[in-house]
Amino acid sequence: MALKIVKGSIDRMFDKNLQDLVRGIRNHKEDEAKYISTCIDEIKQELKQDNIAVKANAVCKLTYLQMLGYDVSWAAFNIVEVMSSSKFTYKRIGYLAASQCFHEGTDVIMLTTNQIRKDLSSPHQYDTGVALTGLSCFVTPDLARDLANDIMTLMSHTKPYIRKKAVLIMYKVFLKYPESLRPAFPRLKEKLEDPDPGVQSAAVNVICELARRNPKNYLSLAPLFFKLMTSSTNNWVLIKIIKLFGALTPLEPRLGKKLIEPLTNLIHSTSAMSLLYECVNTVIAVLISLSSGMPNHSASIQLCVQKLRILIEDSDQNLKYLGLLAMSKILKTHPKSVQSHKDLILQCLDDKDESIRLRALDLLYGMVSKKNLMEIVKKLMLHVDKAEGTTYRDELLTKIIDICSQSNYQYITNFEWYISILVELTRLEGTRHGHLIASQMLDVAIRVKAIRGFAVAQMATLLDNAHLLTGNTQRNGICEVLYAAAWICGEFSEHLEDPMQTLEAMLRPKVATLPGHIQAVYVQNAAKLFATVLRKHEGETDSHAAQETSQLLIDRLPLFVQSANLEVQERASCILQLVKYIQKLQQKKVEVAEEVTALFAGELNPVAPKAQKKVPVPEGLDLDAWINKPPSESESEDEKPKAVFAKEEPKHSRSRHTEVDEKELARRREARKREQANNPFYIKASPSSQKVYDAPGVEHIPVVQIDLSVPLKVPGMPMSDQYLKLEEERRQKEKAERKKEKKKKREKRGKERKADSGPESEEDIAPAHQVDIVTEEMPENALPSDDDDKDPNDPHKALDIDLDKPLADSEKLPVRTHRPEVLKSPAEDRVNESIPQETKKRSGKEKKEKKKGKEKDRKRSKEEKKKKKHKEVEEELLESHPEEAVQSEETKEAATPPTSTSAEASELDFWLCSAPVPPAAQEETAPSSAAAVDTSSAAAPESEPDEPKDAEPEDTKSSKHKKKKQKKEKEEKEKKKKKRHHHHHHHSNAGGEDSVQNGTVEEEEPLPPMSNYFLLAENSYIKMMKEDADQVYDIQGNHQDESKVVVSVIFENKSDSFLKSMEFNVLDSLNSKLQRPEGAGAHDSLTVPFQLPPGISNEAHFVFSVQSIVMPQKLKGTLTFIVKSDESSTHEKLDFKLHFTCTSYLITTPCYLYDAYAKLLESGDLKGSSLRLEGINMPFHHLLARICFHHHFSVVERIDSCASMYSRSIQGHHVCLLVKTSDQTVSIDAKCDEPSLLGNVLDEIKQTFSKC
């Protein structure tokens, strides 16, 4: 056996490794495929061996072959084998191979779950790292669901290397398993402030990706990002954040106002072009979102445009490109600022770089006006002629059409010119955009009634010269224009000069080589032409011509009857029979023209492409419900209308519009306009300047008399240029005329202007034709939604999740329960839940601290106004910040519905509504926060972190007091806002944000659902539930100073009577005191700020100041209230006991650095104590979870059945635990700088475990 292994490994030494394989392939250039196939055979042999090294080598080679395009999925199982090797070298090879060729369809992926989990929890960081990297490439919904929890734990790993990878991969997990977003989000948010820049950057990355798709859910993070933006020096992070703000500003213009200043500063100060560029971009986004709000933003636009001009003029093509790109964004809202740089942009059209030319083209789109349209298009047509590669030429073509057709042909003054341009464009060979030209032709011919005569003439020429268009290749896209040409000639055949000739052209044998759908149109429209010809000749004594026409059709149509295309065949045979019948009638001298024409009678209305979709579903109609039993096989439901020829649809809906009365029409038109104004995807009805005539009939349209001689005689030759000249002449003439008109001397106008009945003074440039641009029809009650533009298959749609809503019990990440290796229990769930909650709490607290900071600033500014009563102070505050007052009132209202995220919203509002920062203040405040007196609230967010320390020394004891009081008021105000919210969660027992936030001490039931509230006291009228006191405020980090604890109490009215005048009082001890409003006596009771109707419950918060926290405390208290029923009202009272445990003074403080922890232990400042628990019959992690959850510890490091834990008291005592377990015995060695606190905490821990 041993010999065999040795032999195997010696063989291996002669195996090809990757280098040999590569070398071999390079040496077999002629028969590479053959060589590789022998290599693959070898690899297959190698994979059959037991030796993992051989296998790994084989897999490594396969990875290379995969890159060359060979399918290696057959080796998926071997890859999994290599992945599960215990050696890092092989494991890495395995994971690399997996990341290159595994995907959702790979079935062996499900075998990897346990292996990956094992690797994720490996003690070696590179095993974990390699697993995370691999997983990021092939994570499936199943893997995401099974591993989400493990990865989330890794987000708090001690090593930043793992943390950043875990944070990044969460994005992939969210995509595959959207349910994980909400539970994981608090921790992700926490990582935004990770001490390691890499982790921070990863978190910013992930949140930016998330927010890009669903920005509104991330608005509440704006203050945090703002802080990061003003404090970070990492350009990578800054760029991401600034990009994110670009996505957020459209949703919240106030945010934009706040951003302008720091962004402008960055633009001025940064030397990094990348950062400068992103800043400009975001400023543009802000300006777009503000477009009307801010009066003096023209300076910002000027700055942007000016910086962009510098970029565009730079010799670096990359900067040039980006400059143009950003310029096009400004163009949308501030075209004037860009138009002044027209010279620069036209210059870019001649750039040798295609990308730059394309960007310049984009810009041109927005720069055209009535005046310069023809000129610009002429320039573009020159480029079309010059263009080499078809891609760029096609791009030019679409741009020309876009430019001309934009805003409902707003800038076109002469449609003859436009038709000529379109006809000229048909000469492009090999373009893919024949259908585009075709649809433009159709659109113009249908909607601009005045142009039909001209259009028909041009189309007839096109049909006559069809051979020029079709060329040899059948697939030539340009032949699509024949579709339009044929249809226009048929539909508007009354304008044809010589219908017979056109008819003849449409029935040439060559037509049979055209694509089927075009032939079909030819056949159908031949029939229309036939009808026209008949009518023309009707009444003539000599019926020869008409009969000739019939004969022509009878001769030619059989060709189409034989067509392989069903539609052509069907139409042709139908029409053939019809013509034969007509011929018979003709021979009998029966007049048939009238009847034949009637076949094709009817006026057309253009219908908006999405009209069908917009029809609202009538109430009570369920379109998804089956009418009959579902058939066994469902048919393809996807019947997208062929976009190109959507315009054809009006044909079918002709009759639909006939019965509508005038009133109805007007009403619909109104609705439609409103709808279209909101929808960027509709061609808008011409805006203000140009009047639209919704002419009810054709008669009202001024008929254009056109001199057809010129264009018709040069078919297929450039002719649009002459319009340019004509137009110039016309304008000249007009100018002259206008002068003359002033002198009241009317002269005869130019031939072309005959039709122009439009009022002269309307615009500088009057259109050559008064055109009737018919707006598109929309159904009645069309829904004004833009939803249909979203792709229903977008994976990010599932991530549109409200992140501010508190977590529900059901939202926990799934935790495996029946797996043998590392068992987890429900308790761990709670850890996982509690940790994110904890983080949420922390960030919440930070926010509060922010507020405190603000208050402090404000306070200092009012140093002289001392000793005011509670209310007065508050009023004063509101007065001095009226904006804020309004805001908070608004949020109070908003808070009423229980599901609203009022607290978050108010935070954001508060942050946003603070006055715009005065210039330069932004930068000053951060370093010298203490000096910032008057910049007050706006400056506060940045200055918040280091403020307390800075400010402390100067403040006297008394001012501290006052500050605290104000803080408390603020808190209470906030609480009020939150109240109903809290209450709601309590009732649903949801373990939601706020309840879990404060872990319970006296927790009876080990299994969820659980409530953190426990009964405080109860009588027949009222029930009091206390939430564990944990919302502690470690205010100035001052150890001697007293600390505060907030107690939340829910009052529930159990009776049928109304409860009012509730007063809450507690008998203060020396150590713990209820905080009462200033001026109140030490024994006065606090009024509960609400009344309770029957069956209603509400929550109130009470703040206690605590001096020493080393002992648990019990306080006796009384609640008095008046019970008011219909007949009587009685005074009632209820006694209770408040219990403060020592644990409630501990704050979960994650400790990232094991080194620091070790140092702390070694320092010798801590005193030890220990505890032994016998008969603990639960898994170790379950035990840890309980300690974490109930006693606010966090795990620093865990090795097997031994774990270090850490927590900190509100007064800064360090508490360290070393928990070990063996055989139902748990020993806890603890160290703390305060022995009595430690003793009490240990007792409490013991109690917790004795209960279970």
């Binding site: 990863a202 990348s274 992103e278 990359n318």
Partner: protein, 160 residues
């Protein structure tokens, strides 16, 4: 997001391909070919951005590339990435390769594509930028290299 990272030489031979979205092998090859076609016909002194190819997703995507001697480094990214940032990232990538291989040349990439993958994995993960600090990247790559070496030394014949 980065959708794909491709390295190929002046003749379009792939030297590394990393797709962060799944495509079949055939499509991958097509994408490489198409990208090569787009990139290779561009002059040296024109901009390094290209509106995306047809195969690799949609109008939101851009190709950002750099050309070094015989190799093209192409990143396909969507609009959430900063164009200039990605250009810098490519530079970091190449400099890192240069440090790790000591004067990197095409041959290094040809024979050690696995190593290149490992370096890349320290910079970009699942299509998102993981680390941009070169010394940090090199530290991690070298630490893993050491680990690999120690394992090989411990069991030169793969017996363990």
């Amino acid at each position: 997001m980065i959708k794909a990272i491709l390295i190929f030489n002046n003749h379009g031979k792939p030297r590394l391909s990393k797709f962060y979205e799944h495509y079949t092998e055939d499509t991958e090859q097509q994408i490489i070919r198409e990208t090569f076609h787009l990139v290779s016909k561009r002059d040296e002194n024109i901009c390094n951005f290209l509106e995306g190819g047809l195969l690799i997703g949609g109008s939101d995507n851009k190709l950002i590339y750099r050309h070094y001697a015989t190799l093209y480094f192409v990143f396909c990214v969507d609009s959430s990435e900063s164009e200039l940032g990605i250009l810098d990232l490519i530079q970091v990538f190449v400099e890192t390769l240069d440090k790790c291989f000591e004067n990197v040349c095409e041959l290094d990439l040809i024979f050690h594509v696995d190593k290149v993958h490992n370096i890349l994995a320290e910079m970009v993960m699942g299509g998102m930028v993981l680390e941009t600090n070169m010394s940090e990247i090199i530290t991690q790559v070298e630490a893993q290299g050491k680990m690999e070496k120690s394992e090989v030394r411990a069991a030169p014949f793969g017996l363990v």
